[in-house]
């Protein structure tokens, strides 16, 4: 009974998403030989480690009601800078990684300041950041630079064994540790509560005296950091730097968050849901790879269909089950803002 009572509009998407993941995995296990193994499951973490890390940063941004389109290109820029410094300037891995992480943070701070203090749209600012980071990649080199440094290869090949056969890569462990830190930040710190408060209603958050400006800039910084960390994981995974790495990753990250139950209006969502969202995208790719006869573009169509189903489901449940009002809530929402005095203002 206690368990049932905890199922509400906020946790239901998470539960449905998890059930869907189990169902997809079960479908794969029944349909294909050797799909049901610990390694296939762990491979989801290994192959999607960088997506998990990037999606964590994205989830924080979305929780504040913002969006970060620059994550994919910051990943690419990180791989490019790493490859250039390691290969052409022979820097040590221990000097390069802190540097690129700092660079990601700097990118995030810059965009956060533009969004907060110049009151610019997150969409436009991070779009500019996307162009800038992608463009800087091509300034370094338009070709792919492969990383031959032995320490990168060592990290890449190291296996953390679980029992006889199953293993995780270092990247996957880094991703899981990042996730744990992210969950701690979101659920158990003042920063996390402020993030949720800003997403719920920024005006109220300001009136409550919460440090809104600082938190918003921190959130974009965190996303920049996660993108750079994701980029480091990509260098371990791909052992190369390339301006076309992680093309469209921002959309995968947003899709993972949405499938995981995060509302793009902000204020509602769990990082655990985002993890399951990434795993679902991963399991779809595994299913298509195991099938062999389906073409790769079915992945995109499947993700689109899933997105659609989950969004429709959220529409019906986000207002505590009152289905009729849920249908009209998009049009009713500004009314609440209007009474607070912002909705009725003309744009200029």
């Amino acid at each position: 009974m206690n368990l049932l009572a905890r199922i509400n509009a906020r946790t239901l998407p998470l539960i449905v998403t998890s059930l869907l993941f189990v169902a997809l995995f079960a479908f794969g296990s029944v349909s294909y030989d050797s799909f049901f193994s610990a390694q296939v499951f762990l491979n989801l973490f290994i192959d999607n480690a960088f997506v998990i890390v990037v999606a964590i940063g994205m989830t924080f941004v979305i929780l504040t009601g913002g969006i970060d389109l620059s994550v994919g290109s910051i990943v690419a820029l990180t791989t490019m800078v790493t490859a250039a410094l390691v290969e052409q300037h022979h820097w040590s891995i221990w000097a390069v990684i802190p540097l690129v992480l700092l660079m990601g943070c700097a990118f995030g701070v810059m965009m956060g300041v533009l969004i907060q203090y110049f009151e610019l749209q997150p969409f436009i600012v991070t779009l500019g950041g996307m162009f800038l980071a992608r463009g800087l990649c091509y300034v370094i080199s338009i070709d792919s630079i492969s990383i031959t440094d032995p320490s990168y290869a060592a990290v890449s090949e190291y296996r953390i064994m679980f029992g006889e056969e199953a293993f995780l890569s270092i990247s996957a462990v880094i991703a899981l540790v990042t996730l744990a830190i992210g969950i701690f930040l979101a659920q158990y710190t003042r920063f996390g509560r402020t993030v949720y408060a800003i997403g719920g209603n920024e005006r109220s958050a300001i009136l409550m005296g919460l440090p809104v400006a600082r938190t918003k800039i921190l959130v974009y910084t965190l996303s920049g950091f996660c993108s750079a960390l994701g980029g480091v994981l990509v260098t371990f995974y791909m052992l190369s730097g390339y301006g076309l790495h992680a093309l469209g990753l921002e959309m995968d990250a947003i899709a993972s968050a949405v499938i995981g139950g995060t509302l793009l209006t902000g204020g509602v969502g769990y990082l655990a849901g985002t993890l399951v969202g990434v795993l679902i995208l991963g399991v779809i790719q595994s299913l298509i790879a195991f099938d062999g006869s389906l073409s790769s573009w079915w992945t995109r169509i499947a993700i689109g269909v899933l997105l659609c189903l989950f969004c429709l489901m959220q529409r019906f449940f986000e207002h505590g089950g009152s289905k009729l009002s849920a249908l009209f809530s998009y049009w009713n929402k500004p009314e609440e803002e209007g009474s607070a005095g912002s909705g009725a203002q003309p744009a200029r």
């Binding site: 749209q121 500019g128 800038l132 091509y138 689109g304 997105l307 849920a326 049009w331 500004p334 200029r348």
Partner: protein, 349 residues
């Protein structure tokens, strides 16, 4: 009252877009004295300006549709995918094969061209109806609703082209993207027709007012008797149709349909054009002419980068810096500071 005139000018929403475009043209003229030259070759107008206008045509079309969507507080990030789908349909339906007719080799289309055009536009309209259904019918946030088609759209386009680049061999189809009518590129006539229809609808009917009303306050607009949902529904449909027309021009221009790259990042360029044109992404007031200027700014910038001999790789960096620059210039925060210093008067918000 000179300061007043100046202040009015500076507060005109078209002021900053025009200044940006003029500056860009000046930069182009400085480095390339022949920038404004237009000559007549074979009865066609040739010149840098004509080239920029011609190449900006697809972006102008999509940006016009996007302006209306944004004016209703929405956004459509699926236009790039719609371009890919419509382009794939057009190319697949026309295709073209070599036949020998009366001893002469000619290319014929798979289906009559009007049918193919109707097919492509029809599919684009379907995409728009789908978006409209999700936004106005199911009440999803516009960015999520159109994200669905954006993610799935290129997959669908690849399904149509079966993962190949479909080449078009049918001569009359190339007229859209490369043809000239009375010396002027044909694509510009398409832009002009769409623009005139839009301006008539916006200024001669109450439609423009309705759209702005929905953008400013959807609930109030509904209470005042505007069919807000129908309006939003049709705005998404219209935006997708402009993307379909743009797809015809693009497909005809490159004579092929590439499901992966056709219209790539087009949605972002279109939104950028709208923002550069002075329309707030928060909805409400919109400026159709400003949007056209915004699209021209983007194309002129690209042209400047190429003509300056800057490596094309840096194109994106420059574009990013321009985005930041223009956004900061247009930001209310900076304007307030400037207004305080320039006129020593406090603006009443």
């Amino acid at each position: 009252m000179k300061p007043d005139t100046f202040r009015n000018l500076i507060r005109n929403p078209l002021f900053w877009p025009c200044v940006t475009l003029t500056l860009l043209c000046a930069v182009n003229f400085y480095f390339n004295r022949g920038f404004f030259d237009i000559e007549i070759k074979d009865g066609h107008l040739y010149g840098s300006v004509i080239d920029i206008l011609n190449r900006a045509a697809p972006l102008m079309l999509i940006a016009m549709g996007m302006t209306l969507v944004i004016a209703t507080r929405g956004i459509d990030i699926s236009v790039g995918a719609t371009v890919a789908i419509a382009g794939a349909v057009a190319a697949a339906m026309i295709g073209g094969s070599l036949v020998i007719k009366d001893g002469v080799q000619t290319y014929v289309s798979n289906v009559p061209m009007p049918l193919a055009i109707a097919g492509a536009l029809g599919v684009a309209l379907l995409c728009g109806l789908w978006n409209g259904l999700l936004v106005a019918g199911a009440g999803m946030q516009p960015i999520v609703a159109t994200l669905i088609l954006m993610v799935a759209g290129r997959g669908i386009a690849q399904l149509i082209t079966e993962g190949q680049i479909v080449t078009v061999y049918y001569e009359p189809f190339f007229f859209f993207g490369n043809g000239f009518l009375f010396g002027i590129p044909f694509s510009l006539y398409i832009v002009a027709v769409v623009l005139i229809i839009l301006l008539l609808l916006i200024h001669r009917t109450a439609l423009g007012l309705f759209i702005e009303a929905v953008g400013v306050n959807p609930v109030a607009s509904r209470f005042s008797g505007i069919q807000a949902r129908t309006l939003v529904f049709s705005v998404y449909a219209f935006c997708a149709v402009t993307a379909g027309i743009a797809a015809l021009i693009i497909t005809s221009n490159v004579k092929s349909a590439d499901a992966n790259n056709a219209g790539l990042l087009m949605e972002l360029d279109a939104i950028l054009a709208v923002a550069l044109g002075g329309t707030s992404l928060a909805g409400g007031r919109f400026h159709m002419i400003g949007t056209l200027i915004g699209a021209l700014i983007i194309q002129t910038l690209t042209y400047a980068i190429y003509s300056l001999g800057v490596p094309p790789e840096i194109n994106m960096v420059v574009k990013a810096l321009v985005v930041f620059g223009v956004c900061v210039i247009q930001s209310p925060a900076l304007r307030e500071i400037l207004a305080k210093h320039a006129f020593r008067t406090r603006e009443v918000a």
